[in-house]
């Protein structure tokens, strides 16, 4: 998967010229899935045009958004995107507990979820050890969203202070997840782990329940290496490329340094292998774990790099 940043914190926006270059590079590499994201991707003035353009180029498009969309963009999106088959377009909504949203934000997100329900699945990033999944389940049912939750772990970002869990806290969250599996089972809502969730923190019982809940699909990836050997690529508005947001300050390359996507993936795969050479995974016991690289990536790479 490749993430293209549409808007950055400094409000810089991805240009058409760069979007076309990216689309060409991916088409030439026979990669047909692209994900658009950014500080608030859905606020890019050309978001609807970008999505339609990429669809016209035969890409499957995913948009990651907080769901905060201006009325004007929402209206345009409503007029043009609702005709698109769900196989070709999806939205991942980074959803926070309603208690943390302003009334206006709640209103905007409500409109977005109502309008695009059939395209939307929810993502929730854990940044505190105490959390509940019920509000996500309630939201899925209320708006009739896709019956799936992606649970991510907020990770330490290099050269920045951000809210994230410590290694000990990560070990502790599993009990909380286990206690909440029932509500997911009851509503047949699948759950996957987006980011750096290690296998070993789960009990055999919980893994069994997850296996059944997800119809056999249970993986414990580190986001940059979802398929172990194929890193997820992030591209910013200046055509810099790296893998995984928490690692963006570690090493960036220019997209123009590469002839195809395979070369980018190879470059960062080697980089990851080197980074994991000594420590292997984020826990000490990863070094001798028999499941490392087979069933688990050893947790989040950003934990290894950014906690050094």
């Amino acid at each position: 998967m490749t993430n293209i940043l549409l808007i950055e914190k400094n409000k810089k926006k991805l240009s058409w010229k760069n979007l076309i270059y990216i689309a060409d590079l991916f088409e030439a590499s026979n990669v047909k899935h692209l994900s658009l994201l950014g500080d608030e991707s859905a606020l890019h003035p050309d978001i609807v045009d970008y999505v339609l353009y990429l669809l016209q180029r035969n890409f499957c498009v995913n948009v990651v958004t907080g769901g905060i969309v201006t009325n004007r963009i929402l209206e345009t999106a409503q007029n043009y995107l609702l005709k698109i088959p769900v196989e070709n377009l999806s939205f991942v909504c980074n959803y926070n507990h309603p208690d943390f949203l302003t009334a206006n934000e709640t209103k905007q997100i409500d409109k977005f979820l109502t309008t695009f329900s059939k395209y939307i699945s929810l993502n929730f990033n854990l940044s505190q050890k105490d959390f509940e999944l019920k509000f996500l389940v309630d939201t899925i049912i209320k708006y009739n969203l896709k019956k799936h939750i992606r649970l991510g772990l907020a990770q330490p970002i290099r050269e920045q202070k951000n809210e994230c869990l410590t290694l000990n806290e990560i070990r502790g969250i599993v009990e909380n997840i286990g206690n909440q599996l029932e509500i997911l089972e009851k509503n047949r809502i699948t759950l996957d782990f987006g980011c750096g969730m290690p296998l070993c923190i789960f009990s055999n019982n919980d893994i069994g329940r997850l296996f059944r809940l997800n119809k056999g699909k249970v993986v414990f990836p580190c986001c940059p290496t979802i398929d172990i050997d194929t890193p997820t690529i992030d591209i910013d508005t200046d055509m810099q490329v790296w893998t995984c947001f928490p690692l963006f300050a570690y090493e960036k390359k220019s997209l123009y340094d590469f002839d195809n996507i395979e070369d980018i993936q190879k470059y960062f795969s080697e980089q990851h292998s080197n980074l994991r050479k000594d420590k292997k995974g984020m826990f000490e016991e990863c070094k001798t774990c028999m499941y490392l690289n087979e069933l688990c990536t050893g947790g989040c790479l950003a934990q290894l790099v950014n906690n050094e």
């Binding site: 058409w16 010229k17 076309i20 689309a23 060409d24 609807v48 339609l52 016209q56």
Partner: protein
């Protein structure tokens, strides 16, 4: 309509349908700003002559044009003001992604460079009208895209035309692709010449004057493909860079020695 035809025939540019009815056996470019009359023009011109294309100077963007199925066999070259929204273009693509339709946009407008790239990447034959108000940097980017794109895309003029006709033993003039080469197109109209002047006829090898006068253009690296088109520019640094890169690129692609 293909590039070979440009150099094989002497073609009349006409703007008045009455005048068309007075000639026979000619190949005609019919210039108009009326989009509602295309089928009539085709029928009238084709009665006793051959229609090379209808050239439409329009005061509207591409996405505000209502394209018709009936136009699918009529060669049309649109000169609109710009592209408009991509979202509105998508619906029109099945009707305009055709070999008989081209769009030429004004290179004096910044947004038209990305518009041409968008059109081409979506399979629509398009072009940028290079004039002295060109953004030479954007033009250079567009030229590289046109000739070195990573994936197939529709031709972008004048880059494709010049690439096709370029021969390293002689000069190459891209004026014909925009109907401005009076060696190829004979202006045959009295209509509307005040608002849309026709290009003056060439006097023999007028381009040689640049050499006699020792103009800086004649010493420019890109002279053989530019022929002094931007001679009126006071500072010729940018057009010199652009045409030099253009010529080098064509040389590198067209005459590259096979490796291995």
């Amino acid at each position: 309509m293909n590039n070979e035809q440009y150099i094989m025939e002497h073609i009349l540019i006409m703007r008045d349908i009455e005048e068309v009815m007075e000639v026979e056996g000619k190949t005609i470019v019919f210039e108009t700003n009326r989009i509602d009359n295309i089928e009539n023009i085709r029928d009238t011109v084709s009665e006793n002559n051959r229609l090379f294309c209808v050239k439409l100077r329009l005061n509207q963007e591409i996405t505000s044009i209502v394209f018709k199925e009936e136009w699918q066999n009529i060669p049309l070259v649109f000169y609109p003001t710009g592209l408009g929204n991509v979202r509105d273009l998508i619906g029109a693509l099945p009707l305009i992604r055709k070999p008989n339709i081209k769009f030429f946009l004004d290179g004096g407008k910044e947004q038209n460079y990305e518009a041409v790239q968008i059109l081409s990447s979506l399979g629509v034959h398009s072009g940028i009208l290079i004039n002295e108000n060109a953004d030479w940097e954007k033009l250079t980017d567009l030229m590289y895209y046109a000739l070195c794109g990573k994936v197939p895309h529709a031709p972008i003029e004048p880059f494709q035309y010049l690439y096709d006709i370029y021969n390293r033993n002689t000069i190459a003039d891209y004026d014909a692709v925009f109907f401005n080469d009076t060696d190829v197109f004979e202006c045959f109209t009295t209509k509307d010449t005040k608002n849309h002047p026709l290009p003056p006829p060439k006097e023999g090898n007028a381009w040689q004057e640049f050499c006699y006068e020792a103009s800086p253009c004649a010493a420019c690296e890109g002279w053989r493909i530019c022929l002094g088109k931007y001679a009126a520019l006071e500072d010729k640094t940018e057009c010199r860079n652009f045409t030099g890169k253009w010529l080098n690129l064509i040389e590198n692609i067209k005459f590259k020695e096979p490796t291995g």
